[in-house]
């Protein structure tokens, strides 16, 4: 029983991270119908932003809550801006073209971030940028305290990251369903041309969507790196694919679906690696994707919209 509970704790802790990243995929897919391949790499950039900012603020030697908060918020903003820049220069010029062209540039941006970050560092900068291919250790924002609830191990990181993730998701839910921006976002997602005719600034809405999604990815990266401190330029590749699977599982384009999908995927991975062979862990997401595509291609909460001419 304790083992079962422990798996649930671990699964939820990973699942919230998947959910935060999946939200970015699902929102961008909602407004642009584009799989933003670079999203997983924005997540990676978020982790490195946190790494550089903590080193610059001295949070590695003298951790404090204020510094942790500053690092968290600044990384979110930097990544949000990065998302907007990527959209502006790589996706917007191609919006009227075939969807495949935008997909290829998305892959290009993703590779550029992954392999650009693996280049040898530039000496003149004074800090190791680009970080190079060797993994680096993310400084702990605050000291770990382990709780032991009748055999179930739980750290303060798990609690904090769970609460923060849920807080961010609630905030997003509020933005999407209760604000003016959220209304226009849903309008663009429904039909961007008509939304434009109704006086919605489609470009601004798309930029805003990229900002929201990318900053959530940065938040996920810092929450993840806080407890699993090894970060490297390729960390976003597999995680990005998994988060995308979570988004498809929940129904791509659907915000609550992405959250449920992320949690479900986290739990499924944890149970499979806990009760069977742990090296199959990376296969679960793929198997799940195949099953979803076969049985219910619109996902759990998605509605299937036939393609119109």
């Amino acid at each position: 029983m304790t083992e079962f509970l422990q798996h649930i704790v671990n699964g939820v802790s990973v699942g919230t991270i998947y959910a935060l990243i999946a939200l970015g995929y699902t929102m961008v897919y909602g407004v642009l119908k584009l799989i933003n391949f670079a999203h997983g790499d924005v997540y990676m950039v978020g982790a490195f932003c946190g790494f550089y900012l903590s080193n610059a603020l001295g949070a590695d030697k003298d951790p404090s809550l204020t510094k942790a908060l500053v690092v968290f918020v600044l990384s979110m903003i930097i990544c949000g801006v990065l998302g907007v820049v990527i959209e502006r220069f790589a996706y917007r010029p191609l919006r009227q073209r075939q969807r495949l062209t935008a997909l290829i540039t998305a892959i290009g941006v993703s590779l550029l971030l992954e392999y650009g970050f693996q280049l040898p560092s530039i000496k003149a900068l004074g800090f190791p940028f680009p970080p190079g291919p060797t993994p680096r250790f993310f400084p702990q924002p605050f000291t770990t305290i382990e709780f032991d609830l009748s055999g179930v191990h739980l750290s303060n990181y798990d609690v904090v990251s769970f609460l923060l993730a849920v807080g961010l998701m609630l905030m997003l839910q509020y933005i999407v369903y209760r604000t003016r921006f959220g209304t226009s976002m849903r309008a663009v997602s429904f039909d961007s041309q008509i939304a434009g005719l109704m006086g919605i600034n489609v470009n601004r809405v798309i930029s805003g969507t990229f900002f929201l999604g990318s900053s959530l990815a940065a938040a996920a990266a810092i929450l993840y790196a806080g407890s699993r401190p090894k970060i490297d330029p390729l960390m976003g590749l597999m995680l990005g694919v998994k988060a995308f699977v979570a988004a498809v599982f929940g129904g791509i384009g659907n915000v609550p679906g992405a959250m449920v999908g992320g949690l479900a995927l986290g739990l499924a991975e944890e149970f499979v690696s806990g009760y069977t062979v742990s090296s199959y862990r990376d296969g679960i997401a793929f198997a799940l994707l195949i099953v979803v595509l076969l049985v219910r291609p619109a996902g759990l909460f998605g509605t299937f919209r036939p393609e119109k001419v």
Partner: protein, 345 residues
């Protein structure tokens, strides 16, 4: 179609067979001469570069069937290459000490190798069927993510299977891939791709690329054709895999990573999606370019990624677009015939 072919039964069959056999026979003679000359001159390096370029051509042209003709997007071509490679390698290792009765060891090895390559193609095709069936029912971008995932999963499975040598891979393979084998493979792939493009099947694929909804309305079984194109492409990727591992005499999961898939995608995009000659040219340029730029290896992927972005932003059609080389030649030399892969670039 070809008016010069006599319409009488047996003669026509003979003519059609000739059309298939002649290019292969000509290639066989030419590459055999080139191979012997290179062997005589002890020019190992050019020979290796040419072999690798040939394998890349097979990969690029076969991926073009999916990404170019059909307008889908596969990102896991190296996964199918791995399946073909491991199948062929396992068969060659299993038959290592056997020999067909009454034949010299050399000839018997060549026959075994042919058998191994065909088996590799079959297993890769079956894998293509399994991956393609669920994902090709949906729109093209799902295929991208499924094949990317598939590529990684294949690697994970190989690294955890003792039968396949795990991360160290299978070593001690015979070095049996020669220029002759590779360029016979190239000609077979190119012929298959060109004939596919000119057939009814190919026209259905092009219709799917241009407008899937309209194609479906015209009675094209879109999913069926997409899956078949994907299976054909996977089979040739398997062939390339079998050839590659018997060139480097080592079969490791490291040879079939996501990076290799991306290299092939870059070749197809650079050459022009839908242009077989474009893919050949791009594969040659990039394979030789990598050799020239060996000193700046770490920039290779950055260059590929910039190439993809800049090409899409400035010239999304690639070098040739959907046209073939002869469509661009001046009239006296060029066959001015409406190329089926053509249309508006």
């Amino acid at each position: 179609m070809d008016t010069s072919t006599p319409s009488a039964g047996p003669l026509r069959t003979l003519g059609l067979a000739g059309r298939s056999v002649t290019p292969l026979a000509v290639t066989f003679v030419i590459t055999l001469i080139a191979y012997t000359l290179l062997q005589r001159a002890h020019a190992d390096y050019p020979s290796i570069v040419l072999t690798v370029a040939g394998i890349n051509i097979i990969m690029a042209v076969s991926l073009n069937v999916v990404n170019g003709f059909t307008g889908q997007f596969s990102l896991g071509h190296a996964g199918f290459m791995a399946i073909g490679a491991y199948t062929a390698a396992k068969i060659m290792l299993g038959l290592h000490h056997s020999q067909i009765v009454g034949l010299s060891p050399f000839i018997s090895d060549q026959i075994f190798f042919f058998f191994a390559l065909v088996c590799g193609m079959v297993t890769a095709a079956v894998a293509g069927l399994l991956v393609g069936m669920p994902s090709l029912r949906l729109r093209g971008d799902y295929l991208a993510i499924v094949t990317l995932g598939f590529n990684e999963i294949i690697r994970v499975i190989i690294e955890n299977t003792p039968f396949l040598g795990q991360a160290t891979g299978l070593s001690g393979l015979p070095r049996i891939t020669t220029l002759v084998w590779v360029y016979m493979g190239v000609v077979a792939t190119v012929m298959a791709a060109r004939r596919l493009a000119e057939s009814t099947h190919g026209r259905a694929l092009l219709a799917i690329r241009e407008d899937e909804v309209a194609a479906e309305a015209m009675g094209v079984d879109t999913t069926g054709y997409k899956v078949r194109a994907f299976v054909i492409a996977s089979a040739f990727a398997g062939l390339a895999g079998g050839l590659l591992v018997h060139q480097i005499q080592l079969c490791t999961p490291r040879s079939f990573t996501f990076i290799r898939s991306i290299e092939v995608v870059a070749m197809v995009v650079l050459g022009g999606m839908g242009s077989v000659t474009g893919s050949i040219l791009a594969a040659l340029i990039l394979s030789v370019g990598v050799e020239i730029l060996r000193s700046v290896q770490e920039f290779r992927m950055v260059v590929y990624s910039l190439l993809l972005i800049v090409l899409m932003l400035t010239r999304p059609a690639g070098i040739f677009g959907t046209r073939e080389l002869w469509d661009l030649l001046p009239r006296p030399f060029g066959r001015r015939r409406a190329s089926p892969a053509g249309g508006t670039p």
